[in-house]
């Protein structure tokens, strides 16, 4: 199989859309064809070979794209990919892994907003931090992330998992306001602290917070303390075990019969109840 190594030649000012350079596309292309692929840059089009040093190798296993010297002007990296691997050395721009269906993206740096927007499957691993709207819906849409896994080792911004329907988002650091807003399924796990309005307007799914929570929305109902709970999102769901002792809430009661589950660490939030 093929390994494509792209090295960004110099810093760019106008963002470039990288959605054409994904493993399931490059596996069928020659070096020349890849160099001549046209990418959108602002209102112009540029060739891959004009922006990047391009190297194509034969490797074992699934196709792979490696982007070296990357920065946050490279948008839509790994967008809509279905298989293989994308490895980013450096930061990455908006919409990394947007609408991805399969395969894996590893970002060895930070990601800009909208990482994993409307993701359908596969895995997105961000070793640094991510900005707002991790795993959210397209702006305006009420049909969000429907599968796959997003892991952010650093912090994340506001409104992560907006309108999420399925899959997993795991943020190892802290997150901003309105985590899991309009959530309708899936699980969000936050190891760090969350800012206000966690789970606002959620209908279903679960949010687990290990860190500090200043306050829970008044439209959530307190259910009691649970230990090492198994999160079940449906009757058939065999469950996802979570370790720790949590206050459990159900909400958001701005909706009729909401099924959203909110688990908040007892240890770090003695002030809550």
């Amino acid at each position: 199989m093929k390994e494509l190594i792209l090295t960004l030649q110099k810093d760019i000012i106008v963002p470039v859309e990288m959605d054409k350079v994904i493993p399931n596309v490059i596996e069928n292309l020659s070096l020349e064809e890849i160099k001549n692929l046209e990418l959108v840059q602002g209102r112009k089009r540029v060739k891959v070979g004009d922006l990047f040093d391009v190297e194509l190798n034969e490797i074992e296993g699934e196709p792979r794209v490696v982007i070296k010297n990357s920065n946050n002007k490279l948008k839509y990296v790994g967008s809509k990919m279905t298989k293989g691997e994308v490895i980013v050395e450096g930061d990455v721009g908006m919409y990394v892994g947007a609408e991805m269906k399969g395969g894996k993206i590893i970002v060895n740096g930070n990601a800009d907003s909208w990482a994993g927007q409307n993701m359908k499957g596969g895995e997105l691993l961000i070793k640094g931090s991510a900005r707002d709207y991790v795993g959210s819906a397209y702006r305006g849409d009420w049909r969000g992330m429907s599968g796959g896994k997003i892991i952010v080792e650093g912090n994340a911004g506001n409104e992560i998992g907006e309108f999420m329907r399925k899959g997993l988002i795991h943020i190892k650091g802290n997150v901003g306001i309105m985590a899991g807003i309009h959530q309708n399924g899936g699980i969000i796990i936050i190891d760090g602290d969350v800012d206000v309005r966690v789970g606002g307007e959620m209908k279903a799914g679960a949010i687990v917070v290990y860190g500090k929570v200043d306050e829970v929305l008044p439209s959530f109902k307190y259910e009691g303390i649970v230990e090492n709970p198994v999160i079940k999102l449906s009757k058939k769901d065999e469950g996802t075990p979570i370790e720790g002792t949590f206050y459990k809430f159900i909400g958001d009661y701005v909706h009729n019969k909401p099924k959203g589950q909110l688990y908040i660490s007892v240890e770090n939030n003695p002030h809550l109840i």
């Binding site: 819906a137 397209y138 305006g140 849409d141 009420w142």
Partner: protein
């Protein structure tokens, strides 16, 4: 510039031309008897020639359309229009203005009427018209919930109401009297609705029957080109067919008396599909389309447009504020609502008409039944764009009507079985021919709008608005029919070739048409006192800032009517 369109098969119902091979001559923007040898030849061999399409009911421009665009970026991203040399545009169900104009033009349409213009924000509609290329435009201001209209009619002062209507039409550069959920949108301002023709409006204590009948009388007193254009009460509610029939009946006996044009009807029921529902709830929901069609067929005064469901994800938008609230409560999707001071209101909600939904399947069937059972002189093709579906689906609707095979393909393979069980659409073998298609997409429209002197036909003296489609008149392949009507072979607008092989080859800007009726001066002065009083007391704008000024069009076309006998 001269053209001669050679060897096409011509369908021109207003002149009784049914599939004759003949040449059409064009000179200086008009259709003429003959042209010189210098005329450019347009080869229409193996093609069908029709007058340019006319759409009498579409929500294409103005405040609520723009709300739809703004609050649905997810619709915007679904369809991107970017062609070399043309303005780019976006939006599947609520396209931006240039995309709207281009796509109508690609389909061979040359005139479109905006179905609902809130008078106070008429400027927004006209501003968008300025940026909508390729087509002539007109807009219908909303009158059915207007305080002054309700007060004059309550007092029984038809003449004063007529003068007010004349004033407002001119002030907003409007074209016709639009009535939406008469009294219901005002009731919505009180958190209520009206549920039958005799349900009084809060405070104003007038009934929808009095509003509809009163405005129909006003319309014929003024002799407007178009009749009253009505969206009756109870839109979209099971069992509403009775309200629809009652509303049609309530203006029986009011004769069409246009002072301009050749209209014969005094009542236009828009998006009749939404008003032909039987049953008492969604559980026993069923079609009453045949009952409605039977009444329309025997009633000289009525014409309907269908508002065909296209089974797409779309955006609903109407001045029927309470209906949109009901819709939002039903589907749970986002909702925008607006109150327009003394005049009207509106709501916007996205909607997904899934073919697999039992109710949507019946709605789809009801629209088709209306087409199949109504006399083809009395029915018009619309999708109430974008309410029942986007206008770019007209070709698909045409294909459903022309090919029983194609219709059945959808009926038996794609849509829920309720379509077969709760309607009679499966029983009809009717297939439209191109003559009938030409009626329901241009000739009937031109006539009921009162524009048939120069639009909707290909006779000598008509505007050279011409559509040429690459289609065999016997074609039954649904996909081929769709393609032929979606992308015209040629379109001429005002004598210019604007589309070739489905591509826009020339960008032009059509006229904005409005009606200026002169009533007796003394009467108008009396009414203006009332109007000024209303502005002083209630409006948020000064009366001098209200009228739409001259600069709000690329080019105006005014229909002047002398009604100074009303005094």
């Amino acid at each position: 510039m001269e053209y001669i369109i050679k060897n096409g098969i011509v369908y021109d119902p207003l002149n009784g031309v049914n599939g004759e091979k003949m040449d059409i001559c064009v000179k200086d923007g008009k259709i003429v008897e003959s042209v010189s040898d210098n005329a450019k030849i347009i080869d229409a061999s193996n093609c069908v020639v029709m007058p340019g399409g006319v759409d009498s009911h579409s929500h294409l421009a103005g405040a609520k359309v723009n709300v739809g665009r703004i609050f649905r970026p997810e619709d915007s991203v679904k369809d991107i229009y970017a062609k070399k040399g043309l303005r780019t545009g976006t939006g599947f169900s609520v396209p931006s203005t240039y995309k709207t104009g281009y796509q109508y033009s690609e389909m061979g349409y040359t005139m479109v009427v905006e179905a609902a213009m809130p008078p106070l924000i008429a400027r927004h509609t006209h501003e968008e018209f300025i940026e909508t290329p390729q087509i002539d435009k007109a807009a219908m201001p909303l009158f059915g919930n207007n305080w002054m209209v309700m007060e004059y009619l309550k007092e029984g002062d038809i003449k004063a109401c007529a003068a007010y209507v004349a004033w407002l039409l001119k002030a907003t550069r409007g074209f016709a009297i639009k009535i939406v959920n008469p009294g219901g949108t005002e009731a919505w301002g009180w958190g209520k609705n009206v549920h039958s023709l005799d349900d009084p409006v809060p405070y104003f204590d007038i009934t929808p029957r009095e509003i509809v009948r009163g405005l129909a009388e006003v319309n014929e007193m003024l002799g407007l080109p178009h009749s009253i254009h009505v969206h009756p009460n109870n839109l979209g509610h099971p069992g509403n067919w009775e309200t629809t029939l009652e509303t049609m009946k309530c203006v029986e006996g009011i004769e069409a008396k246009p002072r301009y044009g050749e209209r014969e009807t005094s009542y236009y029921n828009t998006h009749c599909q939404f008003h032909s529902y039987g049953g008492t709830s969604w559980k026993d929901f069923e079609s009453k389309a045949i009952e409605i069609a039977e009444y329309v067929n025997k009633s000289k005064h009525v014409v309907i447009d269908v508002g065909q469901i296209t089974l797409d994800e779309t955006t609903t938008m109407t001045a029927d504020g309470p209906m949109e609230y009901d819709l939002h409560m039903t589907n749970g999707l986002k909702w925008a609502n607006c109150d327009v001071e003394l005049e009207t209101g509106s709501g916007v909600v996205p909607f997904i008409y899934s073919p697999k939904g039992p109710v949507y399947a019946v709605q789809w069937a009801i629209g088709l039944e209306l087409f199949l059972h109504t006399n083809t002189d009395k029915v018009l093709l619309t999708t109430d764009h974008p309410n029942a579906g986007p206008f770019i689906r007209y070709p698909r609707v045409i294909a459903w009507l022309m090919s029983k095979k194609y219709r059945d393909e959808w009926l038996y393979n794609k849509v829920h079985k309720w379509a077969q069980q709760r309607s009679h659409v499966a029983d009809s073998d009717k297939e439209y021919d191109l003559y009938e298609i030409a009626k329901i997409t241009r000739a009937n429209q031109a006539k009921v709008l009162g524009l048939s002197e120069t639009k909707g036909h290909l006779g000598v003296g008509a505007e050279a608005d011409i559509a040429i489609y690459a289609i065999d008149p016997e074609e039954k392949d649904g996909k081929k029919i769709e393609k032929a009507f979606r992308y015209a072979k040629y379109v001429l607008k005002g004598g210019d070739v604007v589309v070739k092989d489905g591509n826009i080859v020339k960008q032009i800007f059509g006229d904005t048409i409005y009606v200026d009726v002169q009533v007796g001066e003394d009467l108008m002065n009396e009414v203006l006192k009332d109007v000024e009083e209303k502005f002083r007391r209630y409006y948020s704008v000064n009366i001098d800032n209200y009228p739409v000024s001259d600069k709000y069009a690329n080019s105006w076309r005014v229909i002047k009517i002398d009604a100074t006998d009303i005094n």
